[in-house]
């Protein structure tokens, strides 16, 4: 299980290679990656703030929970903070399991927890408006999270 919270960019392809190499018996690997997108053509950058210490603890906790709940051999979570430009990868998760449904569910579960329970906040700064605007949490994200307890 690997959890990293970092300011610098990471190489998704390289991370997946290392992740796969660190598994022995998993026939199924699922990855998720989140990318900064400039949907309206005016995004200067995205600023990600986080709560050092609590962030790492929360991600470790969710990763460990997903590992047990879905019988995962290996779990990886990397999340960036600071200034990110359009096209950059914000974060990734990877899960490895014997069974593809577990690998899918593990990654999906981990993403739901990460979205709504890991202390990250995003601000979008568009060109000409240097103050930026904090991204609002979505009701559907909270709903998705609660579905796992049913």
């Amino acid at each position: 299980m690997i959890v990293r919270v970092q300011n610098v960019a990471f190489d998704f392809s390289e991370e997946v290679k290392l992740f796969q190499a660190a598994t022995k018996y998993s026939g199924a690997i699922v990855t998720f990656s989140g990318i900064v997108r400039d949907v309206n053509g005016d995004l200067d950058y995205m600023l990600i703030e986080h709560y050092p210490g609590m962030t790492e603890n929360a991600l470790e906790k969710f990763s460990a929970a997903s590992k047990v709940k879905f019988d995962l051999e290996h779990v990886l979570v990397i999340h960036r903070f600071g200034v990110l430009r359009p096209g950059e990868i914000i974060m990734m998760v990877a899960t490895a399991s014997k069974h593809r449904k577990d690998a899918f569910s593990g990654a999906d579960y981990l993403m739901d927890y990460l979205k709504s329970r890991a202390p990250f906040w995003k601000k979008e700064v568009v060109l000409g408006q240097p103050d930026g605007a904090w991204v609002d949490a979505k009701v559907i994200d909270e709903t998705a999270l609660k579905a796992w307890s049913n």
């Binding site: 990600i48 703030e49 709560y51 609590m54 979205k115 329970r117 906040w121 904090w134 609002d136 949490a137």
Partner: protein
């Protein structure tokens, strides 16, 4: 008692700082918020809509009714938007 307070995202911006150490007798998070609001308009603005505020004591997400007994760090922030 001494408490280390942390503020993130727009709570930090409204309060005008990200961290401070205060001396308080507040017994719960709710009492602490009530005390902070009286300080200045920045705090009042930050805690205006309490449904948009989340709190962690010693890095665990909790309810506002949580006791502050033996707590060292309290963090206030908006709903999280990672991923």
């Amino acid at each position: 008692m001494k408490l280390n307070l942390l503020y993130f995202a727009w709570l930090r911006e409204r309060i005008g700082r990200g961290q401070e150490i205060i001396e308080t007798d507040a017994e719960t998070v709710t009492e602490l918020i009530a005390e902070l609001i009286l300080r200045d308009p920045g705090y009042a603005a930050a805690f205006e809509d309490i449904s948009s505020v989340r709190v962690a004591v010693d890095q665990n997400l909790v309810d506002f009714s949580t006791s502050l007994a033996s707590v060292r760090e309290v963090a206030f922030f908006p709903p999280m938007t990672g991923g």
